[in-house]
Amino acid sequence: MGLKRNVGLVTGLRYQGRGPMLTFILHRIGGLGIVIFVATHMLSSFLGGPAGVFINTIYEHWAFQIFIFFCALFHAINGLRIVVLDLWPRLIEHQREAIWVEWAVFLPIYAIAVIVILSTALGG
């Protein structure tokens, strides 16, 4: 027996989930980004050779570093919020405030990291 879901992709995209939905989507994208990055990074260093070197040059590019640091940092901070709210369910009523705190922690750290990455990559 397969699952029955009566929601199409277009309806899904029109869902007005706002803050919590945004964190949900970014958590998924971040998680996928990390899994693909770690898997191919391990594979490239395992295989070595020209293919490994080619994959590593992509990973050392500043644009990719900005992307993967977004994935890792957002997934880590949002994941910590999920852990706290899930292990202490009573706190669920403060989840919107928790999301604001999360952005307040995420944005400065990410901004500093992006400045460091860009000034190292472009400023020399």
Binding site: G2, R5, G31, V38, I82
Partner: protein, 143 residues
């Protein structure tokens, strides 16, 4: 009016694979936080303040292996290739891979509904998890 009961005894509820993995995902996240903080402390002791850049600090934080931080100004990496850091790296690999690939499975299963496809993907993801843990620990032990 009697209030509706919203909980059932744990014994009656049972623990199936998804429930166990739900709690495992949360706990493995905490374990990875711990590993990352130990790695970060290691990088600071190593000389992160003066001899490493941000990228190398992060590289050591997430995979404490001397081969991972070759381009630093740390004069001697040999003291850092110890059993302790190999064990830390292996623990990180095991938890990160199982956490990550179970996450991949949940994402895939949100969009795939046919039973036999779901079953096939479960087997593939399980094999991928074992393969990645195997490759990762092999890399750490031979580095």
């Amino acid at each position: 009016m009697a209030e509706k009961r919203r909980t059932i005894p744990l014994a009656k509820r049972g623990f199936d694979f998804e429930t166990v993995m739900w709690i495992y995902t949360r706990l493995s996240a905490l374990v990875m936080y711990l590993c990352a903080f130990i790695g970060l402390a290691g990088a600071l002791i190593m000389g992160a303040r003066t001899q490493m850049n941000l990228a190398d600090v992060l590289r050591w934080t997430f995979m404490p292996n001397p081969n991972h931080v070759l381009n630093t100004n740390v004069p001697d990496l040999a003291p850092w290739a110890t059993v302790f850091w190999k064990v830390m790296g292996s623990i990180f690999i095991v938890f990160a891979t199982s956490h990550g690939l179970h996450g991949l499975l949940s994402i895939i299963e949100d969009y795939i509904t046919r039973t036999w496809v779901r079953r096939t993907i479960r087997i593939i993801v399980l094999l991928l998890t074992l393969l990645m843990i195997g490759i990762g620990i092999y890399m750490i032990l031979t580095a």
